[in-house]
Amino acid sequence: MKATKVFVTALLAMALSVGSALAGDLAVNGSTTVLPIAQATAEKFMESHGDVTISVSGGGSGNGIKAIIDGTTDIANASRFIKDKEVEAAVAGGAYPVPFGIALDALLPVVHPSNEVTDLSIGQLRRIYTGEITNWKEVGGADQPIAVVGRDTSSGTYETWKEKILVKEEASPKAMVVASNGAMVQTVAQNRLAIGYIGIGYLNDSVKPLAVEGVAGSAETARSGVYPVSRYLYMFTRGWPTGDALNFINFVLSDAGQEIVAKTGYVPIR
C-alpha cells in the first residue's frame, strides 16, 4: 500500500516536471499547404525567442482543426475555413476556434513545358476536368489527348479548385489523382499530355503555369483579386491566443513574418 503511494507520487512528480518543461513549447499542426510558411516563420521566431520551442507538423487541414477541437495542438493551419460541423463539435467540447488569415494562396493550372497552350478560361478548365474536353486541340493546342490530373477530393487544394473552377460539377472519375502538391509537380513534369493544378508556392521550372481568363497568377493579381483562382490561408487557435501562441501569430502577421510568406512563394496579405 505504502509502496503504491510512493510510486504514484513519483509518477505525479514526473508528470509535473515534464509539464513544466513543455511550458515553453508550441505545437503547430494542420494543412500541408500552410506547412512551408509555418516552418519558415517558426524557425525565424525561435531565433529571437530562445526559450520557446515550436514543433510544426503537417497532417492536413482536417486533422489540424480536429487537434484544436481536442486541445492537442496550440495552432492549427488550414487551407480552408472551418466547416459548420467542426464549429459545432468544437463548441460542444467547450473550445472556441479563432481564425487568423495569414496569407493568400493562388492555385495555378500547370502543364508540361513543351505544351503550346498558354491561357485557358474557367469554362475551358471546368470542361477539361469534367471530361467534356479530352483533346488539347479543342483549346488551341496540338492534336493529342489530355491527361487530367487532380487532387484527392478531401484536400484543401481540391476544395478551392472545386469552388473556383468546377463550381457545381464534379471532376470526372477518370481524372488521375495525386496526394500532394509535390507529387503534382512531379507527375506533370513527367507527362507532356498532362494538366494539373498547384499552390503558387510549389511552382518551379519543371512545369509551365497557365494564365486563367487572360490573367497570369502572381502575388499582385491574387491580392488585388483580379486572378480568379486564389484563397486565404488560416491559422486557428483554441480561444483567443495568449502567451507564446499570441506572440507567434503576431510575428506571422508582422512585416517580418509576411516577408517570409512571400519568400516561401505564397502571397502576403498586404
Binding site: 477530393t153 478531401s154 496526394a179
Partner: protein, 295 residues
C-alpha cells in the same frame, strides 16, 4: 521446501508469457472492435449494396457518394496482376536456389534475397514514378504511365523476394530421406524435384504465395505513388486505378473526424482486413491439410 520454490520459480515465467500472449491477443481484438465501431456508422448514411456495388467515389460531394466498387476492383486488380507476375518467378527462383544452384552461390543469394525483402516500398514507388512511368508512356504511347501495370510491376518486385525466400525454406525442409528414396528408385534429379520435392513442399509453397498476396493487398505507398489514383474500374492494364489502401492514406488526413466520409474510410479498412483475414484462413486450412498429407 526446495521443491516448492522450484515450482514457484517455474510458475512465474509461465504467468509472464501467458500475460504477454493475452495482451497481444487483447490488442488485436481491440483493433478489430475499434475498426467495427468506427466503420459501421457509415451504414446510416448509405446502404451496404451502394457502398460495395456503387461505382462513384465522391466522398466530399453534396450529396456524397460512397461507391467503393472501383476501389475494390483497383485493390484486387493490382494484387492479381502482381501475383501473376511475381509468383511463377519467385517459385522458379526458389526451386533454382534449393535444388539446382551450387551451394556457394546459394549462400550468397539467399541472404541477398532476404535483404531485398526489406526494400523500402517508398523507394520502389519513387522509381515507378520517375523511371518506369515515363518509359511506359513513351513505349506504349499512353495517356499516362502511372497505371495498373506500373503498380503491379513494382508490387511484383516487392513480393518476389519474400515469396521466393519462404518457398525456398519450404523446399529445403523436405527431408533428405525422401530425395534419397527417389534417387534409389532410379529417378533423375529433375524427376525427383518435380514429383517428390515440390509435392512434399506444396503446403509451404502455397503458404508463401498467400503471404505474398496478403502483403500486396495491404501495400499502400507503391500504389499511392504509381497507380495513378483514378477511381474507375480498369478496362485494361494500362488504366490508372485507385486501390482501397491509397484511398485511405490520401484522404484520412483531410477528412473531418466523425463525418460519413471518415466512417467510410474505416469501412474500407475493414474490407482490407476481411480480405487479408480470409487469405490467412486459407493459409491455415492449407497447413492443416498439409499435416494430414504428410501423416
Amino acid at each position: 521446501m526446495k521443491d516448492r520454490s522450484a515450482l514457484k520459480a517455474d510458475r512465474l515465467p509461465k504467468a509472464l508469457i501467458a500475460l504477454v500472449a493475452t495482451s497481444g491477443l487483447a490488442v488485436m481484438l481491440f483493433i478489430l472492435w475499434f475498426l467495427l465501431r468506427e466503420s459501421l456508422p457509415v451504414l446510416k448514411a448509405t446502404t451496404l449494396g451502394a457502398l460495395m456495388g456503387g461505382s462513384y467515389w465522391y466522398p466530399t460531394a453534396d450529396p456524397a457518394r460512397f461507391g467503393m466498387f472501383p476501389l475494390i476492383a483497383g485493390s484486387l486488380g493490382v494484387t492479381l496482376l502482381a501475383s501473376v507476375i511475381a509468383l511463377p518467378l519467385s517459385l522458379g527462383l526458389a526451386v533454382f536456389l534449393s535444388e539446382i544452384c551450387p551451394r556457394r552461390l546459394r549462400e550468397l543469394f539467399k541472404p541477398l534475397l532476404e535483404i531485398l525483402g526489406f526494400f523500402p516500398s517508398v523507394v520502389l514507388g519513387f522509381l515507378g514514378m520517375i523511371v518506369l512511368a515515363p518509359w511506359l508512356q513513351e513505349r506504349f504511347s499512353l495517356l499516362t504511365g502511372l497505371n495498373l501495370l506500373n503498380a503491379s510491376l513494382l508490387m511484383g518486385i516487392m513480393i518476389l523476394p519474400i515469396v521466393a525466400s519462404l518457398a525456398e525454406d519450404a523446399l529445403a525442409a523436405v527431408p533428405r530421406d525422401l530425395r534419397d528414396a527417389s534417387y534409389a528408385m532410379g529417378a533423375t534429379r529433375l524427376e525427383t524435384t518435380e514429383r517428390v520435392v515440390i509435392p512434399a513442399a506444396l503446403p509451404g509453397i502455397l503458404q508463401a504465395s498467400l503471404l505474398g498476396v496478403m502483403r500486396a493487398i495491404g501495400e499502400t505507398m507503391v500504389v499511392l505513388m504509381a497507380a495513378g489514383g483514378a477511381a474507375v474500374v480498369p478496362r485494361s492494364i494500362m488504366d490508372p486505378v485507385r486501390p482501397l489502401t491509397s484511398t485511405i492514406a490520401a484522404e484520412m488526413g483531410e477528412t473531418p473526424v466523425g463525418s460519413d466520409h471518415y466512417h467510410a474510410l474505416f469501412f474500407a479498412g475493414l474490407l482490407l482486413l476481411a480480405m487479408t483475414l480470409s487469405i490467412n484462413l486459407c493459409a491455415l486450412w492449407i497447413e492443416k491439410r498439409g499435416r494430414r498429407w504428410r501423416a
